[in-house]
């Protein structure tokens, strides 16, 4: 797969994690857009049309679930792949994320290779 130039949206209210994820994705060859809350994530998704979004679940203004619902409810945004990222790892949380239409659910802390591998897997399918 060629990651070159593909835009990935990263949204997390924790800026340290946000820059870590961005850095990892940039090194893997992706172009990265960042958002620090759910509302901003929705706006960037509308304006810049990423191929994939990595969304933290617990974000201010709009949670990762709500962003996911917004994307899935919009005809033009429906195709964006979504990976939910959360420090909440209970089965019920995972199930809720997948039910809402997430393509994957990753628990924090995650290994960088794990995240990149998951993204590449989703973009290939």
């Amino acid at each position: 797969m060629n990651a070159e130039g593909k835009l990935v949206l990263c949204a997390d209210d924790d800026e340290d994690i946000l820059s870590l994820v961005s850095l990892r994705l940039q090194r893997a060859g992706f172009e990265v857009a960042t958002a620090t809350d759910g509302q901003e994530a929705v706006e960037i998704a509308r304006t810049r049309r990423p191929v994939l979004a990595v969304l933290d679940v617990m974000m201010p203004r709009r949670t990762g679930y709500e962003v996911l619902e917004e994307l899935r409810g919009d005809e033009s945004l429906r195709d964006i792949k979504v990976i939910l990222l959360s420090a909440r790892v209970q089965e019920s949380d995972v199930a809720r994320g997948l039910d809402a239409g997430a393509d994957a659910y990753l628990a924090k802390p995650f290994k960088a290779q794990e995240l990149v591998a998951k993204i590449e897997e989703l973009l290939e399918s």
């Binding site: 924790d14 340290d16 994690i17 870590l20 850095l23 990892r24 420090a87 909440r88 790892v89 209970q90 089965e91 924090k108 802390p109 995650f110 290994k111 960088a112």
Partner: protein, 557 residues
């Protein structure tokens, strides 16, 4: 008693003079037997009632002796009244008091109801005695008024004995042989007196009625000699006077004496004692009414006491329920707190582990790489701890829910061993693995991996340098068995039962300052339970420990 019966038989065979003497002999033997029996069976302070019996009967014997002297030496009956009557009559109160003392020592209470019961029985008995036994003497010609008075005193004294008899009948000592004998002897005496009163004109010495008096002597002596008489001096708490059926029957009988006396007099065409019977009936009715009032009162009191007790019990239950709820709430808050803290801890840990990993990839200096590896490893350790805490907190909410899929335990065990190898090497512990192909089980791979990793990590942690840790995977029928054994410090017997409790740490682990949270085995057991399996441990302190996990191939419920 056999000797007594024989003596009575002999009595009836003797000539008249011999009879008189033998009668006295039997009585005297009985008195002696009572004193001997009470001395033998009772401690000094308990002998008083029986000494009274002895004295009372001695009075009778003395009277008999005076009679005998008249009959044998003077060949005539003594004058009436005579000295003999004094002895006879003095004996009655002693006998009655003796009987009441026996009852008192048995625990018969002198409560209001007991006194009322006695009064009711007394009234009934007195009424009967007056109408049928005492008053008739008013209509018979006597040699003197003194003789009439003495004759009337006997049935009056029988009132005392009858009351004592009635009290003994409903008394609390009915189970012992001696008590029954005592009851029989009093009854015989009273019956003899009454029968005599009815046949006073036709009575002759040597009459069959004598057998009743003699029988009373013999039975009374037998009661005193019977060993169980010792027990009827001890209070018996199980048989406190209550409204038993016997007592009720006796009270009813007393109540019916007035109308019955009236009917009998009418039937026999006697002179009707209207005034006395009416008075006695009224007295009985009043007493029974009082007794009834006492009963109603007691029932009311019991009702009030029951209501109070029920209210108190309800209040206690409410308080308990409230406290229970508070405890549950506190427990829930604690678990929520742990869960929330775990979540908050994961976020910074993500950064620490993530950036350490990043730096480790970029760093070329071996020393710094080593340091970064340490940061990474400790972040992982902290994360494992946080995960365990979260896991344990969630287990408190309810049963562990599994996301089942077919699991190949052989692969899982293999992977766990591979990832544990660096730790084993660092601890200089040799790691053995022995596996066979086993049926797949239905379970959650991540949880089962955590289980095996917990057990292997523990084994390595508790095994000193140059020790061994072995993992064996076997299958028998549909049961798959994982054994993790080590040559570690072992677990004392005292700790083994509590090993799988939350936050429990074995004393040996604490002493050797081996780190841990006390959650690993608790979580392991929860995982095994959720898969429908069993976990157990076998250990010899100082030699080693083997944990055995058995999982059903079906994966349980």
């Amino acid at each position: 008693m056999g000797a007594g019966v024989l003596a009575i038989a002999v009595y009836f065979l003797l000539p008249a003079d011999g009879q008189s003497i033998f009668y006295v002999v039997i009585g005297a033997c009985s008195v002696a037997a009572i004193f001997i029996g009470s001395a033998r069976n009772l401690p000094p302070e308990g002998r008083l009632p029986w000494q009274l019996f002895g004295l009372g009967l001695a009075g009778q014997v003395a009277g008999d002796a005076i009679f005998a002297v008249y009959e044998v030496s003077l060949d005539r009956e003594p004058p009436s009244p005579s000295v003999a009557d004094v002895f006879y009559l003095a004996g009655y109160p002693l006998l009655a008091i003796g009987a009441l003392l026996v009852l008192q020592r048995l625990g018969g209470r002198t409560s209001r109801t007991a006194i009322l019961d006695t009064a009711i029985i007394f009234s009934g008995v007195a009424l009967v005695q007056w109408v049928f036994f005492i008053d008739p003497y008013n209509h018979i010609r006597f040699g003197s008024e003194g003789a009439r008075l003495v004759a009337m005193t006997y049935p009056a004294m029988d009132v005392l004995l009858l009351v004592a008899l009635a009290q003994l009948l409903v008394g609390p000592g009915g189970r012992t042989v001696a008590y029954r004998l005592l009851l029989a002897s009093v009854a015989l005496w009273v019956v003899a007196d009454e029968v005599y009163s009815l046949n006073v004109n036709s009575y002759q010495g040597g009459d069959w009625i004598d057998a009743l008096w003699l029988g009373s002597y013999v039975v009374w002596a037998a009661a005193a000699l019977e060993p169980s008489m010792a027990h009827i001096a001890e209070p018996d708490r199980r048989r406190l006077p209550r409204l038993t059926s016997a007592r009720l029957a006796l009270l009813a009988a007393a109540l019916f004496t007035a109308p019955l006396a009236l009917l009998i007099e009418r039937a026999a065409h006697h002179r009707v004692h209207a005034f006395v019977i009416a008075l006695g009936g009224a007295a009985l009715a009043a007493l029974v009414l009082l007794r009834l009032a006492g009963l109603v009162h007691a029932v009311e009191r019991a009702g009030v006491a029951e209501r109070v007790a029920r209210r108190e019990s309800e209040q206690a239950q409410q308080l308990l329920a409230y406290q229970n709820q508070q405890l549950l709430e506190i427990d829930r808050l604690k678990d929520e707190f742990v869960s929330s803290i775990s979540h908050e801890l994961r976020t910074p840990l993500t950064s620490i582990a993530g950036y350490a990993e990043l730096l480790l990839e970029e760093e070329e200096d071996a020393g710094k790489r080593g340091h970064l590896a340490i940061v990474g490893r400790n972040a992982d350790r902290l994360l494992a701890l946080v995960s365990d805490l979260l896991f344990a907190a969630r287990l408190q909410y309810g049963r562990l829910e599994l996301e089942r899929s077919p699991v190949d335990l052989r692969t899982l065990v293999q992977q766990a061993i591979d990832s544990a190898r660096p730790r084993a090497q660092a601890a200089a512990v040799e790691l053995h693995l022995e596996t066979v192909d086993v049926p797949r089980i239905q379970g959650e791979p991540a949880k089962l991996a955590q289980l095996i990793d917990n057990l292997v990590s523990n084994a390595i942690k508790f095994t000193p340098r140059d020790g061994h840790v072995g993992v064996r995977l076997t299958a028998r029928d549909t049961m798959i068995r994982i054994e993790v054994s080590d040559t570690g410090i072992g677990i004392p017997d005292a700790d083994r039962e509590r090993l799988f409790e939350r936050f429990f740490r074995a004393q040996s682990a604490l002493e050797q300052q081996i780190q841990g949270t006390g959650l690993g085995l608790y979580i392991s057991k929860a995982i095994v339970d959720a898969h429908g399996g069993r976990i157990g441990v076998d250990s010899t302190p100082g030699e080693g420990t083997t944990f055995v996990v058995e999982l059903p191939a079906g994966g349980g419920g």
